[in-house]
Amino acid sequence: MSEQALSRRTVDIRSLLARHGALIALLVLVAGNMALTPHFLSWQTMSVNLTQVTTIIIVAVGMTLVIATGGIDLSVGALMAIAGAFAPLIFEGKLFPVPSVLAGVGIAFVLPVLIAGLCGWFNGYLITHFRIQPMIATLVLFTAGRGVAQVMTNGNLQAFRMPAFQVIGLGKVFGVPVQVILMILIVWAAAWTMRRTRFGREVLAVGGNQRAARLAGVPVDHTIRRVYIISGLCSGIAGLIVISINSSADANVVGLGSEFDAIAAVTVGGTRLSGGVASMTGTVIGALIIQIVRYMLLANGVPDSAAMVVKAGLIILAVALQTQGQRA
């Protein structure tokens, strides 16, 4: 009897680690940094860390939904580049005449994001209509998408100064960066959708068991197309933020490697790649962990290249802990 209780308790600790391991790790990291890294809790440090992690989190929100359906989206970085290439072309009136600067900026906020969403729809169409595996289907736009952005801009860097547009990357409301507010809104909306709406449950059903979901009357194909559209829209927004911060759009660089950063954040946050689970808070925590570890290493004089190796170890550790917890 007591033995049983004991074994149950160890199991509890294991599953606790598996379920809340990411949060615990984040708290330990923050505490450790408060002790070790000078000025860690300063407003400036927080602001630097938050602005650096915003775009990853926004992309990772869409990626969490995609992964929850058991899919993957490798095209997000390329879609960021496409949105980033379109926006300056639009507000500088190079694509079509714009009536006024402000109208141009307004269109530049909306149209590139919609184009990225359309690309997301295309991913979903390939997956649902032709039954192509998500990884290969999104590999098409991963390859061609950045190429389209490069062809559109001839591979040139488009430098610009457009304060009205750059609000999205440089503006602040009551001292809080606009992009951080945007990120919080997106995360909140996604978390609410997953918890409170029919669509959220359908996403999990599709990821849990696609065939069963289909038999139960879940509009599987429709749901899948929608998550890829959402992922595209998120990537588009992230692309606009990146070019605003940089005051330039470089199709060769914008969003490069973002797909892997986002996937890393999602997995460290506890969303399984096999689908059926989605944890928005987990994804945010995962992205924050990766960011804080990187910052901690940089602030203590460790080069960025060594930080990459640490990040790799972190991903493996997090996922290994989760698989252990699942087995228990």
Binding site: F130, V140, A144, G147, P303, S305, M308, I316
Partner: protein, 326 residues
């Protein structure tokens, strides 16, 4: 409606379509451009694409087991850096160093996947970061010049019997890979794992050992590609190889290997690599003719469209196969 196409033709087309396409594209190039069949063009083409061929071969084996290796591009970079650092001690030292780098990453990949039971996608994604970081660390964030007088560069730039040495290496690797896949128990277990891993294990076959070895193989081949890269371009390049993993996956898929594993061919993988490389070559010639002027950026657009065409075609063939058997 489509009864005219027999099931047999469909199978043949599905498997060897890439070879037909390669022959067609090659014939197109030969007829349209004057110097296309010139020795210089052909040898340069082979010399350069042998690196992609090596990476693609390793990728094909991992995909046949139902896995994937995302670390290959970073391993190429690491291999090139390490071999450039060892190049003053001669050709063999450089080659060994590059192979060792690939071996180490491959062994870690294999251990993480087999022992920790982590999905190949995540494991090799992490190792991609680690290998890239190590390459940058070793190289001090800049390219590492190779020694010009130790004879190291001959592995990338010299010919043997009128044929580039890198192409010989790739050819040897594909011959060995083909034997390994088709005539050994290792090859059969590779396909068995991809078909049904649990069943393979229940049959008492050493699934874990074979899976482990597949990632070691992929790492070593990528390491050799790194050595060739350093020798060909005279420097170890820590930021090179970005996106090679996805190029290799495209080549394998274009070559008709299913991403779900359990099926695949070494020869058509080579055809897939050559086909994607040939697109770039023909684009260069087309620009040379002066009718059109497509920047190098079109290359990725065209490759993407090509990949799209192939996977849609494969999906349609697969769907037809399903309705036929149903």
């Amino acid at each position: 409606m489509r009864q005219g196409l027999s099931a047999r033709t469909l199978v043949v087309f599905g498997r060897y379509g890439v070879v037909f396409a390669l022959v067609l594209l090659f014939a197109f190039g030969a007829l349209r451009y004057d110097n296309f069949l010139g020795v210089f063009n052909l040898l340069t083409f082979l010399r350069y694409n042998s690196m992609f061929a090596l990476v693609g071969l390793g990728m094909a084996f991992t995909i046949m087991t139902g896995g994937i290796d995302l670390s290959v591009g970073a391993v190429v970079a690491l291999g090139s850096v390490v071999s450039a650092m060892a190049s003053p001690y001669g050709l063999w030292a450089g080659l060994l160093a590059g192979v060792a780098a690939g071996l180490v990453v491959g062994v870690i990949n294999g251990l993480v996947i087999v022992r920790l039971n982590i999905m190949p996608f995540i494991a090799t994604l992490a190792l991609m970061l680690a290998a890239r970081g190590t390459a940058l660390l070793f190289a001090g964030n800049q390219s590492v010049p190779v020694s010009y007088d130790s004879g190291f560069m001959s592995i990338g730039t010299d010919d043997l019997f009128g044929f580039p040495i890198p192409a010989w290496i790739a050819l040897g690797a594909y011959a060995a890979g083909s034997v390994l896949l088709n005539f050994t128990s290792f090859g059969r277990i590779v396909l068995a794992i991809g078909g049904n891993e649990d069943a393979t294990r229940l049959m008492g076959l050493p699934a874990d050992r074979v899976k482990f070895l597949v990632y070691v193989l992929s790492g070593v081949l990528a390491g050799i590609a790194g050595v060739i890269l350093a020798a060909q371009f005279g420097a170890g390049q820590p930021i090179e190889g970005n996106g090679w993993e996805l190029f290799a996956i495209s080549a394998v898929v274009v070559g008709g290997t299913l991403l779900t594993g359990g099926e695949g061919s070494v020869g058509t993988t080579l055809a897939g690599v050559l086909l994607l490389g040939l697109i770039f070559n023909i684009l260069n010639f087309e620009n040379g003719l002066g009718w059109i002027s497509l920047s190098a950026y079109w290359q990725s657009v065209i490759r993407g469209l090509f990949l799209l065409g192939v996977v849609v075609l494969q999906a349609k063939l697969a769907a037809q196969g399903r309705t036929r058997t149903a």
